[in-house]
Amino acid sequence: MSEGPVPEPTPETLPFWEGTAAGELRIQRCNACEKFYFYPRPYCPTCLSEDVEWRPVSGRGSLASYNINYRPFPAFKTDQPQVIALVQLDEGVRLMSNIVGVEPTPENLPLGLRLKVGFEPRGDQFLPVFTPETTEAE
């Protein structure tokens, strides 16, 4: 269990959080535009169509940008640096997450680094977090 703010699902975002609890990253896709989008909304932000669906995605992506936060807020109950990352999923959407399972140094975190999702318990929810793909391959 990691410490920190616990996300509170709304009716419109609940399927995302039900997905993470089931070990799946689910992202919405517009059937009209044939494109994934994020953050969750009950319609497509491009064409406003309600013909949208939740789809499990690969959970793989690459590191688009990040910072290494040396001053975590007290809620996290840690003085260890946090990697606050922007992850570009292979399906084309970008989301914020943490990179875990790797020493938080710039050398370990080149942009473009391949990542895969995992799920970390936080309160009554599960947060999608990412680890470098290579750590598993080794």
Binding site: Y39, S65, Y70, P81, I84
Partner: protein, 387 residues
């Protein structure tokens, strides 16, 4: 009485003041940073309070600000788009005055950003979009969220951390002679990099100071301005723009450029009918060292990838050909939380010839704000000539 256009010099800032003190003010509540600056701005304008029929603010409600000052306005605006709210509020005030919906508008700001006196809770709901999709990862403060796109920006242009530090070095030079500035020690690139790490790639001095401070403006028609005691110090609104993008930083349309800067500045220049060559002075909202880089490129003063060299070559420093953030900026002067008001205040001082470090021959200033961590932008073209 209505004027033809909100732009082109038909609307003027006739009163402008910061709080008498800025910095650490543990004995002043947030709302009285507003009222202190407001009373000073009204006095600066030389206008009777009874003429003020519009009140605009961001943070507390316009109801509270107006009532605290004993004003019963017929027009109010509480547009809240973060630190650039004040650019937008000046713009909205100009529109209202042009349309006849208000005659004299008071725009106020005040934040007890450092001492947190009389400040309502800043907590964000765990059910909000940021509460669900960013706060859980540590993006709870500007330093840990506003900074997330920066490595992508730097990499796309081949820029380095040293380039970020150059922005700080340039601006510090303006702050050194300014006794109201918070950070006044001379510093070089190595020195900036040696300050404590905050959120890689940012060190402390690449992040703004945190202060208690306020500021206020009095805005009216150029016609009314002519008859005020402050007539010869009026600053005219030539052009403006504003816009918004995503509610959370991770969803920026493009990590390497910000739409509201591009679009807002374009509209501001078009409505003003001036070009970049006409601008003598710029204020670029600098909560962090990367913002002036984005802004220089996105507002079109330099091309993509040219901002780092521009800072390094000294164009923005004292004596340079594009003096920027001439009171030291958010990085060195003051930053209460929503800095936009202070960028406007310094532009007004420069245009009036009243700045602590006065740039010679300033006629036209461009002010670019940002709000809510790449959520919004606001742009103003201000001049001491009516156009």
């Amino acid at each position: 009485m209505t004027t033809q256009s909100m732009h082109g010099g038909n609307i003027a800032i006739v009163g402008a003041s910061e709080t008498d003190q800025i910095g650490k003010l543990p004995n002043t509540s947030m709302i009285h940073l507003h009222t202190n600056a407001a009373r000073r701005a009204i006095a600066d304008a030389g206008i009777d309070k009874s003429e003020i029929d519009g009140v605009a603010t961001a943070g507390p409600t316009a109801i509270e600000v107006a009532d605290m000052l004993g004003i019963r306005p017929r027009w109010v605006d509480g547009t809240m788009i973060g630190g650039c709210s004040f650019m937008a509020l000046v713009r909205h005030a100009a529109a209202a005055i042009s349309a006849g919906a208000a005659n004299v508008v008071l725009v106020t700001h005040g934040e007890s950003g450092r001492s947190h006196v009389g400040v309502p809770g800043y907590g964000r709901a765990a059910s909000s979009i940021s509460g669900q999709f960013e706060a859980p990862y540590g993006a709870l403060a500007p330093y840990s969220s506003f900074t997330t796109p920066v490595l992508a920006f730097l990499k796309s242009r081949g820029f380095t951390r040293e380039d970020l530090a150059e922005v700080v070095v340039a601006q510090r030079q303006w702050a050194i002679p300014n006794e109201r500035a918070q950070r006044r020690d001379p510093i070089d690139v190595e020195g900036v990099l040696a300050t404590p790490p905050i959120a890689y790639p940012f060190t402390r001095d690449m992040c703004c100071v945190v202060t208690d401070a306020g500021g206020a403006l009095v805005v009216t028609s150029a016609e009314r301005a002519k008859d005020l005691p402050s007539a010869d110090r009026a600053v005219y609104l030539l052009g403006s723009g504003e816009g918004t993008e995503s509610v959370i930083v991770s969803q920026m349309d493009d990590l390497e450029t910000f739409g509201p800067f591009r679009r807002g500045a374009k509209e501001a220049f078009e409505t003003a009918g001036v070009t970049h060559a006409d601008i003598d002075h710029v204020m670029f909202y600098d909560a962090f060292a990367h913002l002036p880089m984005y802004m220089l490129e996105d507002t079109g003063f330099v091309g993509k990838g040219e901002s780092a060299a521009f800072f390094k070559e000294g164009h923005t420093r004292p004596g340079g050909d594009l003096p920027m953030n001439t009171q030291g900026g958010g990085l060195s002067y003051t930053h209460s939380g929503m800095y936009g008001m202070f960028a406007i205040q310094e532009a007004v001082r420069q245009l009036r010839g009243e700045a602590v470090v006065q740039v010679p021959d300033v006629t036209t200033s461009f002010v670019q704000g940002v709000g809510m961590m790449f959520g919004a932008g606001g742009s103003l073209v201000l001049s001491n000539q009516r156009g």
